[in-house]
């Protein structure tokens, strides 16, 4: 009510005044009437009444001052005057706005990414209740859960609303001319219940569809619905066809379309079907294939859930000692699993842009100080005309506010482009499609503008209103040089910090490119072929099929060799296994822990990993074979040769026991940035979803893409080829996050250097300007021009050298924070720090030389006449 009243007054100021006038004149009239009734004449009564009311105008104004309107009007007037003042110096205004746009824009851009990826809850109802579940076996890093066990967990726990699981595979849809690759997730019952998400069209799975032998049904993604069905609202009931051969395709009816925001378990998932828990092949407790997800009950903490499920599992352990005693459940918040990996990179970027904003602020403060100093006379006049200090400060701050808001507005344009920048540089960044501008980002950038206003404006406002009237009319403001030079020094120091960090990251990326990986990634093409987990029931048939494909590939002109593997060399993956040797090892000897890779025998030739001892493995009829790398042989078989030894992995049901046929060179299999670790290679042509084909070509691998696609289509017309790309592309994509932070940090550091440069240039120019008269006099008295140049140049260099020194100190602290993002350089890398200092001093010379030369070119007579 009261605010409404004020608002009304605000909107109709003249009406308020009018009403007050009417009310007051009514009062006077009444008074006159009364006084006349007491016997006064009309004139006397009028005069007395007016006298009694006091100064009429003052009353009106006092009443009006109660109004918020007055305050607002003052503010608006301040802003108007400030805008006029800024319009008069377009150069200054443009510099400051551009500086702030860069600072606020970059900051807002990174914040929008942090907000979308890290801060906002995942796009599911009550996403904080969602967790991932895995089973941990001390012998085997194996996060998948057996269907039976998952169903036991769901039945026996007291802390979850529901637990479900899924696995996925790439399949081919064969309705069209060519098979179309689709990623299908097979989900356990309760899947949509756990997510709390309903199909946007159609329905969830019916109970009958979740049982073995029940009717088949598929939910499709919004993407597939738009791509394939052109967003047809009557899509429910239409059929998709899946099959491993042209003739044996199975038609599956669509029962619904999921919302666009639902992209689980994979961003590119197309389909969801049920995976019956009661299938006969899913009964074994040792068969693990689900990734588990669950939804906690409201107000249940993750620790309670962990304790509860651990108790459930230990009960299962005593019931099924053989399969369950060793296992423990592993529960992690889903959000952490999704975005935890990029947290450090994003906060590093945010820290960097905050430094950049700080530099921008410092820069603007220095510019404002110069400007306000030049306006001392004007401020003095304001004071002498009776302005209060507060009103002059308000006036000065209003200018800064306009600058900051304009900067923020421009900066928002920059931030709007952030999403596409992130998408270009790192398309694998989780939740990247959620990055964008919304009102919260707007509020954030506005808040930045407010903070900037205060941070940049307050110092100049205080300094320049602390004037006494007598001093203000003269133009001696040399005293404030020191503070401006200090601010420039601060900018230099911060720029050095950012440059050093960026330099180290760039060097790391460069080192990564130079590293010798132990295999030859050039001219290698990789791809996958759609297949299904159900085919793994007959491993021999799968092996025959793959060998047929490999033979077909090798027969192509332009192909050197071909192989399959279950992982891509050089792309970070871990599959740690524990092995036992037939030799028998003493208790005191360390356990044999190694990375395990499953590859076809052609792998080593295709990747040019040299065989150092023994022979390349072959697939033999009655024994499984394996290769080990040099690190493995050196670590575990120092005194004897591993060749001919039998090694077995506990719990591996595919390959119980295999014989070592040879030793190969160390390759950086588990990521280019990781030292080769002891590794075993099972020579086993495994056919299951996720198997990679690796082909060495004679020329540029991309040129072979079409040939290979066609060859596969001839051999396997019902299967689609996907993720067909050069191996170096795969490796480079795996380091996209590295690249993202390196490129962005390098950009921020360059911007920081530029700003520091502009700051130095501006300040030296200003000092030259202020001391024109002195310079003119000295030139007139015979000073050499080189002396003048030397004086200003050394002033600039001194500031920048001090800034560099402080900056190196800061950099040493800052780069320690990123030490685990570095590869091949130490955080105190001398070469990087030296080049940073050289760059900064170089640009400092340029930035101070220009105004110094300008000073030396002054015409003494001209200057002295102007004064």
């Amino acid at each position: 009510m009261s605010w409404l009243g004020r608002l009304r007054n605000l909107l109709r100021p003249s009406r308020l005044q009018h009403e007050l006038n009417r009310e007051m004149s009514f009062h006077v009239q009444e008074r006159i009437d009364d006084l006349q009734a007491e016997g006064l004449t009309r004139e006397d009564a009028t005069r007395a009444a007016r006298l009694q009311l006091g100064n009429y105008t003052l009353q009106v104004e006092r009443t009006r001052d109660m109004d918020i309107h007055q305050r607002l009007e003052n503010t608006l007037r301040n802003l108007r005057v400030a805008a006029r003042a800024l319009a008069k110096s377009p150069g200054f205004t443009a510099t400051v706005v551009a500086t702030l746009a860069l600072g606020i824009g970059a900051n807002t851009a990174v914040f929008s990414a942090i907000y979308a990826v890290l801060l906002r809850p995942l796009p599911f109802p009550h996403a904080e209740q969602l967790v991932t579940l895995g089973q941990v076996n001390p012998k085997m890093r194996q996060p998948f859960v057996a269907p039976v066990r998952l169903s036991d967990w769901n039945r026996l726990n007291t802390t979850f609303q529901a637990i479900t699981g899924y696995y996925s595979q790439d399949e081919s849809e064969t309705s069209g001319e060519l098979p179309e690759r689709m990623t299908r997730a097979f989900v356990a019952p309760r899947f949509l219940q756990v997510w709390g998400v309903a199909p946007q069209i159609g329905r969830d799975f019916a109970p009958a569809e979740e049982h073995f032998g029940g009717p088949s049904a598929v939910l499709i993604s919004d993407r597939l619905w738009r791509r394939r069905f052109n967003a047809d609202p009557n899509v429910v009931g239409q059929k998709l066809h899946f099959g491993l051969s042209r003739t044996g395709a199975v038609a599956v009816p669509i029962i619904g379309v999921m919302p666009a925001s639902f992209q689980f378990p994979l961003r590119n998932v197309d389909l969801w079907s049920t995976s019956p828990e009661d299938a006969p092949f899913a009964r074994g407790r040792e068969l693990t294939w689900y990734s588990g997800v669950g939804r906690l009950k409201p107000r249940v903490t993750i620790d309670q859930a962990r304790a509860n499920l651990a108790a459930v599992q230990s009960a299962l352990g005593s019931q099924f000692p053989k399969t369950d005693a060793q296992l423990t459940p592993d529960i992690q918040p889903l959000k952490e699993v999704t975005v935890g990996g990029v947290r450090r990179s994003l906060w590093l970027l945010f820290g960097s842009v905050s430094l950049l904003l700080l530099i921008a602020c410092t820069n603007v403060t220095a510019l404002l100080l110069s400007r306000a100093a030049a306006r001392q006379p004007e401020i003095a006049v304001r004071f002498s005309l009776g302005a209060t200090r507060a009103s002059v400060m308000a006036h000065l701050l209003a200018e800064v506010f306009i600058l900051a808001v304009s900067g923020a507005a421009l900066g928002l344009l920059l931030a709007a482009a952030a999403a596409s920048v992130f998408r270009t540089l790192a398309k694998s960044l989780p939740r990247i499609e959620e990055i964008g501008l919304d009102w919260r980002i707007l509020v954030y950038s506005l808040a930045c503008a407010m903070i900037v206003t205060l941070a940049c404006g307050i110092l100049p406002a205080i300094r320049n209103t602390r004037t006494n009237l007598a001093r203000g009319t003269r133009t001696t403001v040399v005293g404030s040089n020191r503070i401006q030079l200090t601010l420039v020094g601060v900018q230099v120091a911060l720029a050095v910090t950012l440059l050093a960090a960026a330099g180290l990251l760039v060097r790391s990326l460069d080192q990564l490119g130079r590293v010798s990986p132990g295999f030859e990634p050039d001219r290698v093409l990789t791809f996958q072929i759609s297949s299904s987990w159900s085919e793994t029931a007959d491993l021999r048939a799968g092996m025959r099929r793959i060998n047929r494909i490999l033979d077909g590939l090798r027969a192509l002109p332009g192909v050197d060799s071909a192989a399959v593997a279950y992982s891509i060399p050089g792309v970070p993956t871990q599959f740690q296994v524990e092995l036992t040797s037939d030799q028998g090892r003493a208790e005191t000897e360390p356990k044999i822990i190694a990375e395990g890779r499953t590859v076809s025998p052609g792998y080593f030739a295709t990747l040019r990993i040299p065989v150092l001892a023994g022979e390349t493995c072959r697939e033999e009829a009655n024994i499984y074979t394996m290769m080990v790398n040099r690190a493995f042989a050196n670590t575990y078989f120092r005194d004897s040769s591993p060749i001919g030894r039998h090694l077995a992995q506990t719990g591996n049901i595919y390959i119980p026991n295999s014989v070592v046929r040879g030793i190969v060179g160390d390759a950086r299999e588990a990521g280019l940035d990781r030292e080769p670790v002891p590794t075993v290679y099972w020579c086993f042509t495994l056919s299951q979803p996720g198997t990679r084909f690796i082909v060495r070509t004679r020329s540029e691998p991309r040129l072979m893409s079409e040939t290979i696609r066609r060859a596969i289509h001839d051999l396997e017309p019902a299967r689609s080829v996907f993720e067909l790309m050069p191996l170096i592309g795969q490796i480079s994509d795996a380091y996209a996050e590295n690249r993202l932070r390196t490129i962005l940090l390098a950009f921020f550091a360059s911007a920081a250097t530029l700003l520091a440069c502009v700051g130095l240039y501006g300040t030296i120019s200003y000092i030259v300007n202020v001391r024109k008269r002195e310079v003119g006099l000295r030139l007139a008295l015979g000073a050499m021009r080189t002396q003048i140049i030397g004086q200003f140049l050394s002033q600039g260099l001194m500031v920048s050298a001090l800034g560099c020194m402080a900056g190196i100190g800061l950099a040493l602290a800052f780069t320690r924070l990123i030490s685990n993002m570095l590869f091949g350089v130490s955080p105190t890398d001398l070469m990087t720090l030296t080049s940073v200092v050289t760059i900064i001093l170089g640009v400092s010379i340029a930035a101070s030389l220009i105004p110094a030369i300008r000073a030396a070119r002054l015409e003494p007579m001209q200057v002295l006449r102007d004064e």
Partner: protein, 113 residues
């Protein structure tokens, strides 16, 4: 006017205005002054210069409602009436006032003794 000038203590004006309006009648500014003067036997005199700013502020605070109307003499005047929020405020102000007078009275008694 002949009466001794007795300006209203700072802050009590609001109390007096609200009290004046508790009857529920709508009064214009002049009537409010007259009412206070009459009830206080001319002991209290409302200064017009303070009254209108105060009325205005009280309206903005939502304690009073104001509307234009005609007096018996057919003049346009702004009539004020108390709101429920105003009544609450009155209770509070009255309480404060009582405490103040009680306190002052005690001090004065003490000073005499």
């Amino acid at each position: 006017m002949g009466t001794r000038k007795n300006d209203i203590l700072q802050g009590t004006l609001v109390l007096l205005v609200l009290k004046t309006l508790t009857s529920g009648k709508k009064l214009h500014g002049y009537a409010i002054t007259a009412h206070i003067q009459r009830l206080s036997d001319q002991l209290l005199r409302v200064e017009e210069g303070s009254l209108y700013p105060a009325l205005h502020r009280m309206e903005q605070d939502g304690w009073l409602r104001a509307e234009w109307g005609l007096t018996e003499k057919n003049r346009e005047a702004r009539f004020y009436s108390i709101t429920s929020k105003g009544r609450k405020q009155l209770a509070e102000e009255q309480e404060n006032w009582n405490r103040l007078t009680e306190g002052v009275a005690r001090v004065m008694r003490g000073a005499i003794a």
